[in-house]
């Protein structure tokens, strides 16, 4: 079984620590996943030019299928968009004919596409929390972590098949596999506000600020994210917030950064210093250097 890592458009430039920590974690878990330059998944066009979205997504899937069995998405919106496009191409013969004509111009064809997985669904289902736990060398014991499910990954549930849309447990299982404590919180299924960031920034910021407040109020020290959009939203909310509000925000980390620490990787290998709201203060004590500096129990 071969895997192809698909970081999408946002991660290489805006959120390099997500790609960096994912590569480090997959390396530590001995999962070879080469990266490919596949272009845009079509998510940004989905609501504006559905035809362009479908063509982009089909192109990504057709190219990926030639290189691997499974496409590993890091972005929840890439994942959801590609799943929706694959479903549409499966059901809508007319749309498929149009897309096939476009693909043929590039010497590609539509054969149904590869398996589409998100990094988290891959870790939770293909690998399983138990095999992750076996490789954990420094469990993040007792660290309260809240996880945010991505809208586009979990819904529409009949298309994405990510997890139970009303009572999911996939991300909590992964947090526990890293030895941390999964914190139940009211915002776990809600939107991060990114789709309205340009057209209604006031609303968009209110939504992400509310998510950060909810996570902090539930007692989480870290908000674990698995989508570049929500991570960029959190960084934006942090930039805009007053100092007092900033200090009340929980630390934000991408899930592979959390898992990476538990697997014995160092904060610098996971790009932890780039996170906003900063995560070093909360997470660095779990690294080897942080433990060496901490006073040893008598």
């Amino acid at each position: 079984v071969s895997h192809l890592l698909y970081p999408g458009c946002k991660i290489p430039h805006h959120l390099p620590q997500y790609g960096q920590s994912t590569r480090a974690v997959l390396g530590a878990l001995d999962i070879p996943a080469p990266e490919a330059e596949l272009g845009c998944c079509g998510y940004p066009m989905r609501r504006l030019y559905p035809a362009a979205h479908l063509a982009s997504a089909a192109r990504v899937l057709a190219m990926a299928e030639r290189q691997a069995d499974t496409l590993l998405c890091l972005c929840m919106c890439c994942f959801g968009t590609l799943k929706q496009a694959a479903e549409r191409l499966e059901c809508d013969r007319q749309a498929r004919r149009r897309v096939e004509a476009g693909l043929a111009a590039e010497g590609l064809d539509w054969r149904g596409g590869p398996e589409i997985e998100h990094l988290t669904s891959f870790l939770a289902r293909r690998l399983g929390p138990d095999s992750i736990r076996e490789k954990v060398v420094r469990p993040l014991a007792g660290l309260p972590v809240a996880s945010l499910y991505g809208c586009q990954a979990i819904r529409p549930s009949k298309v994405t098949h990510y997890d139970d849309p009303w009572n999911p447990s996939l991300l909590e299982g992964l947090v526990q596999a890293a030895g941390a404590r999964a914190v139940p919180w009211p915002g776990f299924l809600e939107c991060c506000g990114d789709p309205l960031r340009k057209s209604n920034p006031r609303l968009s910021r209110a939504i992400i600020t509310r998510r950060l407040e909810q996570a902090a109020q539930a007692g989480a020290e870290v908000l674990s994210l698995s989508c570049p959009h929500s991570a960029l939203q959190a960084a934006w909310a942090w930039e805009q917030a007053a100092p007092a509000a900033r200090s009340a925000m929980p630390a934000v980390a991408l899930y592979p950064q959390i898992l990476g620490l538990a697997l014995g990787l160092e904060p610098a290998e996971l790009g932890l210093e780039r996170n906003r709201p900063a995560a070093d203060r909360v997470l660095a004590p779990f690294s080897a250097a942080g433990r060496a500096a901490a006073p040893q129990p008598a």
Partner: protein, 142 residues
């Protein structure tokens, strides 16, 4: 952070919204054949509003609605009211509602609907239809 590329898109969207709000000021009830041009622009998903039985579940689960103390004043029509307006043939009134333009496309409404109404897709198609009407030279959407 440089996000300048999206700015023309945001400007276009805001212009579209203003035009659509003008439609809303003069509600027109479309009946019979007059409904056809609107309905023809909607896919099977877009036309699923007809299955709505107004249980309001979509409105209950909507994170945008929940942001406001008086959501009807901020959003003009709530999701269930939008489905009802479409069913009545009040297309222009519906498309001008701020709810259509402030939708996050988070799919909570669509996933929760007991009647299988593709609420999120209906709102997206309304936006696309408004865009196509306001910019008739734009390439046809699928």
């Amino acid at each position: 952070m440089a996000r300048g590329l999206a700015e023309p898109h945001a400007a276009a969207r805001s212009a579209l919204h203003q035009q659509a709000a003008q439609w809303r000021e003069t509600p027109v009830l479309l009946r019979g054949k007059a409904r056809r041009p609107w309905l023809e622009g909607l896919s099977g998903h877009g036309q699923s509003f007809a299955n709505c039985f107004n249980c309001r579940t979509c409105t209950t689960v909507c994170p945008v609605v929940r942001l406001f103390d008086d959501p009807a004043a901020e959003l003009d029509l709530l999701p269930n009211q939008l489905m009802h307006a479409l069913d009545l043939g009040l297309y222009q009134e519906a498309v001008g509602a701020r709810m259509v333009w402030d939708c996050l496309s988070c799919y909570r409404c669509q996933d929760a609907c007991p009647q299988g109404v593709k609420v999120t897709e209906v709102l997206a198609e309304l936006r696309n239809q408004a865009a196509a009407r306001l910019r008739p030279n734009r390439e046809e959407t699928a």
